[in-house]
Symmetry: C2
Subunit: 282 residues, 2 copies
């Protein structure tokens, strides 16, 4: 994808180096990319809209928490294109400076959501106080920079590697079935050739009984698999919803007729992109 480009591909994430978004960026773009870190999701989208980054890696859903609210809306609002997807298993480790032992840890820092996903660890170690900080990877960076007031941080193995932390305990998350799905976004449609087995669409159906059923029937009658359906409120139109769906196929291939038909049945219709999944290494 970038072999003809003399500059390295720049990839923006929300959060710091070592975040799970960074892991997702590595799964989709390898190690040769230049990482652009941003503070908020709005900053992240701005980075790719303004051209400061070639790609944005954006979490869209988590198997425990559900949709990462607002990110599908942002893709549409900024007319960005989905070019790839990947899933990262959220594995949390207790990280510390070299030489630190687990029994000497009195406080462990991480993002509140990460802390909440390690309740069993804190029950097993009542002597360790959880400390909420802004960012999971940031807690590791802060720890290794020294003077943080906590002796351990809870983060990814990538953060351990990047900041030179030692791992005191691994996979301490309560639920191993904890995955986050990420999209890679760009200003232009996906330039890669097929196979791009999945397509994400957004549409609004007329408000009348059976309208969603008719829209989904277009795929059902052709045996096309709907892998995801999500509804989001439409800002400024209370109690009206936009549907975001993922289906197997591409607009140039098996979806060609379905898309044409869907457009005639809907009040708004957008193709977010067609893409392949990049698997977690190892």
């Amino acid at each position: 994808m970038t072999s003809h480009n003399p500059l390295p591909l720049s990839v923006a994430i929300q959060g710091e180096a070592g975040a799970f978004s960074h892991q997702a960026a590595k799964q989709m773009f390898g190690d040769g990319h230049e990482l652009v870190v941003t503070r908020t999701f709005d900053d992240l989208f701005e980075a790719v809209v303004s051209g400061r980054a070639h790609r944005a890696v954006v979490p869209v859903e988590n198997t425990l928490a559900g949709s990462v609210q607002g990110n599908l809306d942002r893709i549409l609002r900024h007319s960005l294109h989905v070019g790839a997807e990947t899933r990262v298993r959220i594995r949390l480790s207790v990280l510390a400076s070299p030489g630190q032992t687990l029994s000497g840890v009195r406080a462990a820092a991480s993002h509140p959501v990460a802390l909440q996903q390690c309740q069993q660890f804190f029950r097993d170690h009542p002597e360790i106080e959880p400390v909420a900080v802004y960012d999971t990877a940031g807690s590791v960076r802060g720890l290794m920079a020294g003077g943080s007031g906590y002796q351990a941080a809870i983060g990814s193995s990538l953060a351990a590697e990047l900041y030179g932390a030692e791992t005191l305990a691994e996979e301490i998350e309560d639920d191993p079935e904890n995955y986050t799905r990420f999209f890679a976004l760009a200003r232009d449609p996906n330039p890669t050739s097929p196979p791009r087995p999945k397509t994400s669409l957004a549409f609004v159906v007329p408000h009348e009984p059976g309208s969603l059923h008719r829209a989904l029937g277009i795929f059902a009658e052709r045996g096309i698999d709907l892998t995801k359906l999500e509804s989001r409120p439409i800002p400024g139109r209370p109690w009206e919803y936009r549907f975001f769906i993922d289906v197997r196929g591409t607009p140039e291939g098996t979806l060609r007729e379905s898309m044409r038909e869907l457009e005639t049945l809907t009040r708004e219709f957008h193709v977010l992109g067609s893409y392949s999944e990049f698997l977690e290494a190892g």
Copy 2:
């Protein structure tokens, strides 16, 4: 509903008196109920599960932010029943102690989400610093208790009334199409007689092409209106989803046959409740 009950109905909310949940409780239960305040949504559900409160008033969706994540899951997990719904328009006011003028305000406190919904107000008043606190109604209570370090709080007119604050500016929210929908929950099914025009259901379809389409077809072919559809991940079963739908009708009336048929097509099937909508007063 409580006319034969010698005790006042106790109604739990998340947050403090004067919160928008309190407004919702008043719309559904009038002024005669006893308010039970809880700190988190888990505490709120616990209050009604344990019997400490007769009802819980729970936000389920907002027209700008979308689903209040986790609350539909909690209804199902605790086998609670939806007995009523209402919608509250989120109107935000600048509140202060009697005698305070707007030009003397240097800091205004509220919950971060409320502050974020009043960006135009803070642009128009660059001399006023927004201060994030735990709770919208709590910011008003804290202000009126004195010694808070801020001269104004942003909250509801109900909070103004309850804590004796004066209103310096009204409806300062950026978007007037900002409504939150609330359910009233109980341990037992809704005992009120019809009309209960709406029913909320939850179900899981087999993972095969067309399964959701077939499930929705049950309602479409009878002309039954689907007013809401939401998907939520199933914890422990990555990339599987449970659908929550709202339809017009009751299981005893127009929905009778559809429900029987839906149950045969789904892997899990739950009725959350049938209920009426209580309208905002005034």
